[in-house]
């Protein structure tokens, strides 16, 4: 039931596009404040070492240096996303735990002076044995990276539903495979930067982030400054992808330097620092065991997944769980056991990349195809058979409301003539399918909801105030579009104030895929409350019933007698006259089971709703070089209802690059704890010439709770694209991948195995 809308569902120019394409959009590194200083960070040259002593005083003797700090200048408070993962001091005073870790910093009048000052800082280290492989790290006798975590096991997630062992014993077909993937780099185009300005007891900050309130709270704790005096301001963000969700050492560094120097401080990371010293993506080893009935019904899954977490917890249990959840939200698993281990190693800190987990997700999908084939079932059939439908409940007790999974499978399959193509045996050509579900939000305590405030100014123009965050995906434009629909004024009449902790209220941020479902719902609620006030006055003035009033094109009008109308601005002025200006708030709190805990109680309603998607990749393999080319990629995404179809398509297109083509090109390369490709030459982000022909299909399942039926706008492609590619390679070669990325050297190994050739 898609009801009539004026602007929802239309392809509109985004509110941020003009500034961004003309180069006038302001990013953190562009900021210039009076008397601003340049900060530089001194980083650990050791994988693992005790800090014996840090002496920053020689740095202060360099002319032009205004402050020099180390962890000893803070309060020694350790931060963590959870109370049980508080292990990150930002600037350590006990040990360094990875090459590139932040140790000390200076603020100076220019970059050259700062570099000179850094070279004067004295740090004495006592090197310790280090460990780089998570399997080695878990063994008894391995170097302990944190005292609190025995065997370097940061988090163990254990989920056990039904009776897996019994079901496996009864299964007709059982298969177990191990899949590995190198962690990716976020490679956001904007390297991390932060501006901190401390004055008059207030600390103002700008940085690309996914949630300013979470930052402010963390810094308030770390610096013992009251929360209302830590203000994280709105600034454009050049991409995050899950890598900018938490407070960063750079935030504390810039803040401490500004406090000490009494001047604003700007810290800009180099591309290399962004790769080594902000977030990386987990390397993963996933053991997937599946039990299937003869008719292809999956009856049991048994998982053991090891996540290489790097040196600190970061999101800890969330990262250790999420790949499992997006998969169990897509398929029916009556019996499932999941053991996820996040393990510390002496490498950079790992976070989530979208919902991350390409080894696990692609492995599941490719294994399913190969098992289904043995049973005479094709990938479309097996997914339709095992895919969840509306009204069902996942293994960990999340109820599915709207579900377009089957529609996305059919749409992608028809568009690509999948069934025929898959059945054809064409040498070195393959077609593959990947499915996934995405939770629209997840339990984050009281931060799971969003709140919006709207005011209408006396000329009928609107100001929206919301905590919602935009990292480049178009969230800001989306809520302006929603407000435009509800209030009947064009988008250009609406100003948005967002992601500013002093002004805007709580919101999940660009995190947990909640912007459309939660953030936009709050905006819609606020605007509807404002609309009621407008309608009430207009009805009175126009002499008609309230339910006869429509708002469109800046006018309030009688629906039955459209000639009876008045500008909304007149209504607003009338309201002012009455001493009751048109202002309203609205909130949305999703239906989540807040008793859910990632580790201790991993079941209950995860999110208010879920999106679903299916991708189809087509590959050609050069049998002599192993090089894969991708002539075509088709993605179908159930976003409930697109608010701006162009924005949804943009997300899908970008994900095809970032997850689809990346399956054959992208991976961090390590030499123990040294990152060998911390740059955009050797880290292979797919280029325009590497891209396939793209087809994006939007499926509408009209979510009953989403704003205008909308759900998240495109992340399914980022989480199923690698599955589609891996499955296509399986179709082409008859083999399962064992390791991602599927670079040419690895593909040749696969093909060699086919021929029984070694080497």
């Amino acid at each position: 039931m898609g009801y009539q809308t004026d602007i929802i569902g239309k392809r509109v120019v985004r509110t941020d596009s003009l500034a961004k394409v003309t180069g006038t959009a302001l990013y953190t590194a562009d900021m210039k404040l009076p008397n601003m200083l340049v900060a530089k960070i001194l980083r650990s040259p050791h994988h693992h070492a005790r800090i014996v002593k840090i002496d920053t005083s020689p740095a202060l003797k360099v002319p032009g240096v205004k402050a020099a700090i180390s962890g000893f200048d803070g309060y020694g408070i350790k931060w963590g996303v959870f109370r049980y993962t508080q292990d990150h001091a930002m600037l350590p005073t006990d040990k360094v735990r990875y090459i590139g870790e932040d140790v000390a910093a200076v603020a100076a009048v220019d970059e050259e002076t700062a570099n000179e000052a850094l070279s004067r800082i004295i740090v004495e280290y006592d090197p310790l044995p280090a460990v780089f492989d998570p399997i080695e790290s878990m063994k008894d006798g391995a170097p302990q990276i944190h005292n609190e975590y025995k065997n370097n096991i940061n988090i163990h997630i254990h989920i056990d539903v039904g009776n897996v062992d019994k079901a496996m014993a009864e299964a007709f077909l059982v298969r177990e495979d191990t899949f590995k993937a190198a962690g990716e780099a976020y490679a956001m185009m904007e390297p991390y930067a932060v501006v901190a300005s401390y004055a008059n007891g207030y600390l103002d900050l700008w940085m690309p982030n996914a949630g300013p309130h979470v930052r402010a709270k963390a810094l308030s704790n770390l610096l013992k400054i009251p929360l209302n005096r830590v203000r994280v301001r709105h600034i454009n963000s050049g991409g995050a992808f899950g890598g900018r969700s938490e407070v960063a050492p750079g935030d504390l560094v810039a803040s401490l330097l500004s406090i000490k120097a009494g001047r604003p401080v700007k810290l800009v990371l180099s591309r290399e620092e962004n790769a080594t010293s902000s977030r990386q993506v987990h390397d993963i080893v996933a053991v997937v065991k599946t039990g299937m009935k003869k008719d292809g019904t999956v009856i049991a899954k048994d998982y053991k997944v090891i996540y290489d977490g790097g040196a600190y917890s970061s999101t800890g249990p969330i990262a250790t769980s999420i790949p499992f959840y997006v998969y169990e939200e897509c398929y029916r698993f009556p019996n499932v056991r999941y053991n996820g281990y996040r393990v510390f190693t002496n490498k950079g800190i790992r976070g989530m990349y979208g919902c991350h987990g390409r080894a696990f997700l692609a492995g599941n999908e490719a294994q399913m195809d190969i098992m289904a084939k043995e049973l005479g079932i094709d990938p479309v059939e097996i997914r339709l058979k095992n895919g969840l439908t509306a009204g069902e409940t996942t293994a960990t007790k999340s109820k599915i409301t709207s579900c377009g999974l089957a529609e996305t499978i059919r749409a992608a399959s028809e568009k690509t003539k999948f069934k025929e193509r898959w059945a054809q045996k064409e040498d070195n050509k393959g077609i593959g399918m990947g499915c996934i579900a995405i939770m629209c939000g997840f339990p984050m305590g009281f931060r799971s909801g969003s709140s919006c405030y709207v005011k209408i100014n006396d000329d009928g123009q609107v100001t929206l105030v919301t905590g919602l965050v935009d990292n480049g995906q178009g969230n800001e434009s989306m809520v302006v579009q929603v407000a435009s629909e509800v209030l009947g004024v064009p988008m250009e009449d609406i100003n948005l104030v967002n992601a500013d902790t002093e002004v805007t209220n709580l919101d999940p941020g660009a995190y947990s895929q909640a912007a459309a479902f939660v953030g936009a719902n709050a905006v819609k609620a606020a605007c509807e409350n404002a609309r009621k006030r407008i309608v009430s006055i207009a009805a009175e003035k126009l002499g008609t019933e309230e339910n006869d009033i429509g708002l469109k094109n800046r006018m309030a009008y009688s629906i039955s007698m459209p000639d009876k109308k008045m500008p909304i601005s007149w209504v607003v002025r009338e309201a002012f006259f009455r001493g009751e200006p048109i202002v309203a708030t609205g909130s949305y709190f999703p239906n989540i089971d807040f008793e859910r805990e990632w580790v201790s109680r991993p079941w209950g309603q995860m999110a208010g709703t879920f999106s679903f998607g299916t991708s189809v990749a087509e590959v050609d393999i050069d049998p002599e070089t192993g090089k894969i080319t991708m002539p075509r990629f088709t993605a179908a995404h159930d976003c409930g209802r697109p608010i701006n179809p162009m924005a949804v398509e943009g997300q899908m297109d970008g994900s095809i690059q970032q997850a689809g083509v990346a399956t054959i090109t992208e991976g961090n390369v390590w030499d123990n704890g040294f990152l060998l490709n911390p740059d955009l030459l050797e880290y292979k982000v797919p280029l325009a010439c590497d891209m396939p022909e793209i087809e994006t299909l939007i499926v509408e399942s009209h979510d009953p709770d989403g704003p205008f039926g909308a759900k998240e706008g495109g992340l399914t492609v980022r989480m199923n694209a690698y599955s589609a590619v891996a499955c296509a390679v399986t179709n082409a070669t008859g083999k399962l991948f064992s390791e991602l990325p599927l670079t040419p050297d690895k593909v040749l190994v696969l093909l060699d195995d086919n021929k029984g050739v070694k080497g």
């Binding site: 980083r43 650990s44 040259p45 050791h46 090459i99 970059e111 050259e112 570099n115 180099s270 290399e272 080594t276 002599e624 070089t625 192993g626 090109t665 390369v669 030499d671 040294f674 060998l676 490709n677 911390p678 030459l681 050797e682 292979k684 797919p686 280029l687 010439c689 590497d690 670079t743 040419p744 050297d745 040749l748 080497g759």
Partner: protein, 314 residues
């Protein structure tokens, strides 16, 4: 990353250039397009007192020809050289290597001289000063180890010019001017075989011209890289067919290109050559993708390049 401090000059003549170089007692770097030297300077792998920009020197950007040679000024950009009508018509393999160099935007900046004289590369070498300090300095940086090959006793960094290999197959010559005078040598003679100092050049020597014998050659160029643009060759092969046989050159693997001549391009000769190339090529784990894969591709690319060059003849 900011550049280190250096003086900068843009002389108008060779004489002026040499005078500057001598005055700075060799603590100078020559700058053409800058695509090699700017990253090296930012990473503090070079730290000259003066950067001498060669782009104003008259005559180094011209392309001329006489009956015997095509004479290319060293400052000619890759892009201009690719677009020069004769290139594709006479030297097909060279045209292909120019077209496959990096990406078109950088082709418009990089010069053929700079492309030939680019420094060797290694994942452990082309890194910032901070990264390298933490890792420890290697042979190429003046240290005492190889970071890519534990217990290695030589430098294994790779010479990655796309175009040197095709120029080798075309028997190209290079013209130089130095404080000691002028010389003109076959391109293969510039390679020292030592990755620490890859070129046999006199201090201050300026590459002025590239001479290619004016003879139509059918040829081909093959390159392995992960992406379809920008990336350096992980291994490359150039072929130029001559009379009944041909010349083949392989690069991206070690300090200098390998080169071969075959008298015949029949299947057996090609197979034998491919086998020999595979056996000669030495790769180590100093690039992305495995060394055994790169070595294996020597064989594949030699056969492919010759096959395509032969198709072009038809």
């Amino acid at each position: 990353m900011i550049l280190p401090k250096f003086a900068y000059a843009k002389p108008k003549s060779i004489d002026e250039t040499i005078e500057l170089y001598t005055r700075y007692e060799g603590r100078a770097c020559y700058l053409a397009g800058g695509t090699d030297i700017i990253p090296l300077a930012k990473q503090r792998l070079v730290a000259p007192d003066i950067v001498i920009d060669l782009k104003n020197i008259e005559g180094l950007k011209a392309i001329e020809k006489n009956d015997d040679f095509l004479i290319i000024g060293a400052n000619t950009t890759i892009f201009d050289l690719k677009k020069y009508p004769l290139t594709k018509e006479y030297f097909r393999g060279f045209y292909e290597s120019l077209d496959e160099t990096s990406c078109e935007t950088l082709q418009m900046r990089g010069t053929i001289g700079g492309n030939i004289l680019q420094n060797t590369r290694c994942l452990f070498y082309n890194k910032s000063i901070e990264w390298r300090t933490a890792r420890g300095f290697c042979f190429k940086m003046g240290g005492a180890v190889c970071n890519a090959v534990p217990k290695g006793n030589i430098c294994f960094s790779n010479y990655c010019s796309d175009n040197a290999v095709s120029l080798i197959t075309l028997s190209a010559e290079l013209g130089f001017v130095s404080p000691k005078g002028e010389r003109r040598i076959n391109i293969e003679e510039i390679f020292s075989g030592n990755s620490i100092k890859p070129f046999n050049l006199e201090p201050g020597e300026i590459l002025t011209r590239i001479y290619i014998p004016m003879k139509k050659n059918s040829g081909a160029y093959e390159k392995i890289r992960v992406r379809g643009s920008i990336d350096y060759p992980l291994i490359n092969v150039a072929v130029a067919l001559k009379d009944s046989g041909g010349d083949v050159s392989i690069g991206g693997v070690g300090p200098a290109p390998l080169s071969y001549h075959i008298d015949s391009v029949d299947e057996n000769s090609v197979e034998a050559l491919a086998q020999k190339a595979y056996s000669d090529v030495k790769t180590v784990a100093n690039t992305v993708l495995t060394p055994s894969y790169r070595k294996r591709m020597a064989k594949v690319l030699v056969k492919r390049a010759i096959k395509r060059a032969l198709q072009e003849v038809k």
